[in-house]
Amino acid sequence: MPLSTQSQPENDEYILIASLDNVRNLSNILKAISFKDHAIFNATQNGLKVTVEDSKCLQANAFIQADIFQEFTLKEDVVGFQVNLTVLLDCLTIFGGSTVPGVMTALKMCYNGYGYPLTLFLEEGGVVTVCKINTQEPEEPLDFDFCSTNVTNKVILQSDSLKEAFSELDMTSEILQLTMSPSHPYFRLSTFGNSGNAHYDYPKDSEMMELFQCTKTQTNRYKMSLLKPSTKALALSCKVSVRTDSRGFLSLQYLVRNDDGQICFVEYYCCPDEEADEE
């Protein structure tokens, strides 16, 4: 888009201004959901929600509350747009990884409404970079209709133990099977790969298990390719909540602490795999 044909909007023409002293507080979390190119941004008074979807079966959301930003100004109730997340992340990390401790890149993100690009001002050590990224009409994110009343099984685990399991998952298996039950095996991740099958069992009384609320035995299968990206969010998080509802839909919620110790959330929703049972 030729920028010169557009008049530069003044500060008070922006309908969204979000500023951060440390851009990593945004970029790190966005990396955890960057498995697809396009992301839907939705800003409300509460903060920023970024959504990425895959094949109509998987949805990832990152929540960055308003109070994480040094400045968060909204001129409308809801501001929404869609951008290329890969390009956005490239811009946010344009100064590269910060090798000097204490040196941070500051961000001011501005948007002045439908049809305008997303403008990023990034500054590090006195050097300022301005990026303008084209925006698109935001698509309506899928509604997985996952509400707490339908939740049949819920556990909260410390991420460390799941990290190990996820890093070792047999990638020759097309599906990841999740069994949650009030009785043995309580919480089990299973794979069925070329060399055989593997099971990871977490007992309900393990120290890693912070909460265990399973009402009925459920076994559901999910496509490995859909869930594998969630490993990034898992790596950033300290705790994860795993919930399934009566339809077998899966909700993974990750509690992430950013560089300043503030809490953000990432969640993944996944549909169960409908193919016929094997083995």
Partner: protein, 430 residues
């Protein structure tokens, strides 16, 4: 079959498996009365490795009672179970391997901290027993050294690892290197290799020659390697560096180093002494590591004399070189060594005499006749058949092996015919 390992032995078991994965793509597993054997062989049958874990290695060891059980599986399957050594060390408390005969699966269960249980049900194939034909006890030459101070074995690292070199040397060994890469760190009697050196891809073979007092290790260059562009490296180690140095006959063997990587890594981490048993060219070289509960043997085929005329000449040439060269080594003065080498009229030990900055090293694979550069050597080299290295190595063994006797790996089986031979050239006996 039901074996349970606990504590640090789980990591040893994992290392044994990773070790074997450097040899071949399949893991042969056979529990016998004497312990659990884990074996692997490479595709050209020129390298074989066997780990025998005695019943004492396990907290509980129960071999199959009714009939002999043998299986093989892709080694990657087993490796996946023991993928991360550091997490094994941190979190695995117990490892159980049992045979589930109804479902025809080998079940490996890892009991980890915090109650986490990892269960792997691996499929396997039935197979014949895998056994190499070799006789360790009757080898003419035996060298043994601790891996830490084992210059021999660390120097083997030096050869195969793609590392550029930071090395220190003792007053008994000497390297020829790109001078800019040498960094003399300490006079301590150790070799230490810690950065990346690019060897030409064909350089996977090392030549080891011994006399009564010394061992020489040299890189073995391919016939068609251009001598002026090749880097020659030679290490000489004195008998004193070894815990045990018994050389009954001077010999000069060449073998593939790549497959040895697994054993070296295993030996270093276990801190156990490594023994090398060898004879004349053509007979396999056996490297082994053992302690009271574990016995590992890596058997590698060596270049046979028949395959190459020059090796024969080499033997003589090397022995001739050895005598005068020894004095030069003692002086511990690189300059005087350079002078000595240039002035010497030992036949043909200067493959690329145009490079004066690089001290020339005896090229073990060329036919030494005269101290003239390339032409003569090239002619000779052309005579040689251009074959990939593995084909020159004798196939070691195989076929069905008598399963009845307890198959400890250092038993000799005389007069066994090789049933499966995968190279047209194979006429030699093993």
């Amino acid at each position: 079959m039901d074996c349970v390992t606990t504590g640090g032995n789980v990591k040893v078991l994992a290392k044994a498996i990773h070790s074997l994965s450097k040899i071949g793509e399949e893991l042969y597993l056979e529990p016998v009365e004497d312990g659990l054997t884990l074996r692997a062989v490479n595709s050209s049958r020129s390298a074989f490795a066997c780990f025998l874990l005695s019943p004492l290695f396990f907290q509980r060891y129960q071999a199959p009672s009714d009939h002999a059980f043998r299986c093989k599986m892709p080694i990657k399957s087993m490796q996946a179970v023991f993928r991360s050594l550091s997490s094994l060390e941190r979190s695995v408390e117990k490892c159980r391997i049992e045979l589930n005969s109804e479902k025809n699966r080998l079940t490996v269960t890892l009991h980890c901290k915090h109650g986490l249980l990892k269960t792997h049900n691996l499929s396997f194939q039935d197979c014949e027993s895998l056994q190499a034909v070799f006789d360790k006890e009757n080898c003419a030459n035996v060298l043994r050294a601790q891996p830490r101070s084992a210059l021999l074995f660390e120097s083997l690292y030096f050869f195969y690892q793609k590392l550029s070199i930071t090395a220190s040397f003792s007053d008994q060994c000497l390297f020829s290197l790109w001078p800019s890469l040498i960094d003399y760190t300490s006079p301590v009697c150790r070799l230490w290799v810690d950065t990346v050196l690019h060897f030409p891809p064909s350089l996977e073979e090392v030549n080891v020659s011994v006399n009564g007092e010394r061992v020489w290790l040299r890189n073995h260059l391919e016939d068609d390697a251009d001598p002026s562009r090749a880097m020659m490296t030679e290490l000489c180690l004195s008998a004193e560096e070894f815990d045990h140095f018994a050389v009954r006959s001077e010999s000069n063997i060449t073998f593939c180093l790549k497959e040895l990587r697994g054993l070296l890594v295993f030996a270093e981490s276990s801190g156990l002494p490594v023994s090398m048993h060898f004879d004349e060219p053509g007979s396999p070289v056996v490297l082994s590591v053992s302690d009271s509960v574990l016995d590992a043997n890596f058997v590698l085929a060596t270049l046979s004399e028949d395959a190459h005329q020059r090796n024969h000449n080499n033997n003589k040439a090397d022995r001739r070189e050895a005598q005068p060269a020894a004095d030069d080594f003692m002086s511990d003065d690189m300059d005087s060594y350079l002078i000595a080498m240039e002035a010497s009229d030992l036949p043909g030990d200067l493959p690329g005499p145009s490079h004066e900055s690089v001290p020339p090293v005896p090229h073990s694979s060329t036919n030494h006749r005269a101290r003239l550069p390339s032409e003569e050597e090239e002619e000779e080299e052309e005579e040689q058949v251009n074959q990939p290295p593995n084909k020159k190595f004798c196939s070691l063994f195989f076929g069905s092996v008598l399963p009845a006797s307890s198959q400890l790996t250092n038993q000799t089986i005389q007069g066994q015919e090789v049933l499966a031979s995968d190279s047209d050239d194979e006429k030699q006996e093993e």
